[in-house]
């Protein structure tokens, strides 16, 4: 076959939808992949599922599908387009049902297949140790979710039964892109060299706009044309896994050696050992060649045998974070904000709020990277945040900032306050045999 064309329709759950529609309509694609699960997303989705057994999948699933499904399947004069996505989150089955309903509503005859088996919540031994030093058992009722990072297996099975839309829960991000390459080119599960190359393609595409000019512009140093209409990337891949990264002609953004280099290293530790469930990929010798504007060839990836254990992400409740903010402006803003900071901290101590951890900073001065001598700013914003075991304590944080209006230094304005439950994430490793991917047609 000629080059396989895979596009990236989302880099995270809340991502823009228009570039995905642009890719579906004008990308001449074989596959459109939506990667929508950050580390904590499944734990949050599981909380939704607990209160609504038919919920717990991506909130934008319906809107995305409504917009792209009209281009999916076998349409006259077009390549057959299929969709692969982890938007199933904590409930791939319910997500598949919803997609089938939308397809029927649009009058489309599409096969929608769910990939299951990542949820290992009820299979974990209590004495299993987490990377934070706690055991699974010690979390008790605070434990919300445990999902193994699946590899390509379930998606391959779904493609074999001719799915038009594949909906998964937790799958390693690059595997969403590697599976269609293995399926189309017939790569063996131990063809490590090609799997390493295919994983590079997945890694470059998985954050969507981050390789096509998003999260890149630094005016005067790195400029990006028409960032407002940023297009999402696609890869043209040959049977050996050699790939060219590009985007739809006429879309905004830029694909260059520099954008590819930034994404190559993004969220990578040792570039010679990028671990996925499918392969130990080696990106250390990767280079990029600009063949023409917005067309960049990736070369030099390789791979070694896959890890024997699978990573499992465990979500658990870990108290509450309360926060309050207040702005100060004009001459003496910093001195008044610092006085306000001291007053709030003293009041929290006086009323005996129980806190696990506390942070008080001045946005515009020291909130990101600590203090540094600089000229007096025209405005500054006090932020106080604390993590508490009890919600009632967390509520007090924002309240004590808000009361600065009538009880603090002169001229505070724009108070805001919030309380949120902490859903923390830890990880553990399970033997591969303990995890059994399967599909539901």
């Amino acid at each position: 076959m000629n080059a396989l064309r895979i596009g990236s329709g989302a880099g995270y759950s809340g991502d823009r939808i228009e570039p995905a529609v642009e890719l579906a309509e004008h990308g001449d694609l074989d596959y459109l992949v939506f990667e929508c699960l950050a580390e904590r997303t499944i734990a949050l989705a599981q909380q939704v599922r607990i209160s609504d057994p038919q919920g717990g999948y991506d909130p934008l699933l319906a809107e995305r599908m409504r917009r792209v499904l009209p281009f999916v399947g076998r349409l006259a004069g077009r390549r057959r387009l299929r969709v692969i996505t982890n938007m199933g989150a904590a409930n791939p089955l319910a997500a598949a049902i919803e997609v089938r309903r939308i397809a029927a509503e649009l009058g489309l005859g599409l096969k929608v297949v769910a990939v299951l088996g990542d949820d290992v919540l009820h299979a974990l031994p209590g004495e299993q140790l987490l990377d934070n030093g706690q055991t699974v058992g010690s979390l008790g009722e605070r434990l919300i979710s445990a999902n193994a990072y699946l590899g390509v297996d379930g998606i391959l099975e779904a493609l074999r039964v001719d799915a038009d839309v594949v909906i998964t829960g937790r799958v390693a991000d690059p595997s969403l892109f590697l599976a269609p390459q293995m399926f189309e080119f017939g790569w063996a599960f131990d063809d490590w060299q090609r799997l390493g190359r295919g994983t590079l393609v997945g890694h470059l595409l998985e954050c969507a706009g981050q390789v096509s000019g998003g999260y890149f512009a630094d005016p005067g140093f790195k400029d990006v044309e028409d960032l407002a209409r940023l297009g999402f990337p696609l890869a043209e891949i040959d049977a050996d896994g050699n790939a060219l990264i590009t985007k739809v002609a006429g879309s905004g953004g830029r694909v260059s050696r520099a954008t590819c280099a930034e994404q190559l290293i993004y969220e990578v530790h040792d570039p010679a050992a990028y671990l996925t469930p499918d392969v130990t990929a080696d990106f250390s010798q990767v280079g990029f060649v600009e063949e023409s504007v917005d067309r960049v060839r990736a070369q030099g990836a390789s791979g070694r045998a896959r890890p024997e254990q699978l990573k499992v992400s465990v979500g658990y409740l870990d108290g509450w974070i309360g926060e309050g903010q207040m702005s100060y402006g004009g001459p003496g803003a910093v001195a008044r904000a610092e006085l306000a900071r001291g007053v709030v901290l003293k009041r929290l101590a006086l009323i005996g709020v129980n806190m696990q951890d506390l942070r008080a900073e001045l946005i515009g001065m020291d909130s990101l990277h600590g203090p540094r001598s600089s000229v007096e700013p025209w405005e500054v914003r006090l932020r106080v945040a604390a993590r508490c075991d009890e919600r009632s304590d967390a509520v007090r944080i924002g309240n004590e900032v808000e009361t600065l209006y009538t009880n603090g230094p002169a001229g505070g304005g724009g108070a805001s306050k919030s309380v949120r439950q902490v859903v923390a994430v830890a990880s553990l490793l399970l033997p591969r045999e303990a995890v059994k991917p399967r599909i539901e047609e």
């Binding site: 280099a261 190559l264 290293i265 990578v268 990277h369 945040a385 902490v422 859903v423 923390a424």
Partner: protein, 106 residues
């Protein structure tokens, strides 16, 4: 000269660990970055933010994209999900590092 003039950067997070790429705009500047941007130099730059008990900062080289990758364990203090930081992902760290001063040989 500020590092910002010679290189660009992106920061990623996994758990409570950040990784910061430093990528030379021009291949001819890469040896200078390799020489001056040591793991020790980056550790000193972030000394107030790093967790004292965490594993040391590691540096990896990616010569074909003229880049260095710094891995900073523990700097996210509990990770994105538990951290009280405004920028819990540590996304801004790489931009701060570009403020580092380099000595340009004359």
């Amino acid at each position: 000269m500020k590092l910002h003039r010679l290189a660009h950067s992106r920061t990623g997070d996994k758990g409570d660990t950040s990784n910061i790429s430093i990528i030379a705009y021009r291949a001819e500047d890469y040896p200078l970055l390799c020489e001056q941007l040591t793991a020790e130099r980056v550790t000193a730059f972030f000394k107030d933010l790093l967790e004292p008990m965490a594993a040391p900062v590691r540096r990896y080289e990616l010569p074909n994209v003229q880049a260095l990758n710094f891995v900073l364990p523990g700097i996210l203090r509990g990770g994105v999900t538990r951290s009280l930081a405004l920028d819990a992902h540590g996304k801004c760290l790489g931009s701060a590092l570009l403020d580092l001063d380099l000595i340009i040989p004359t």
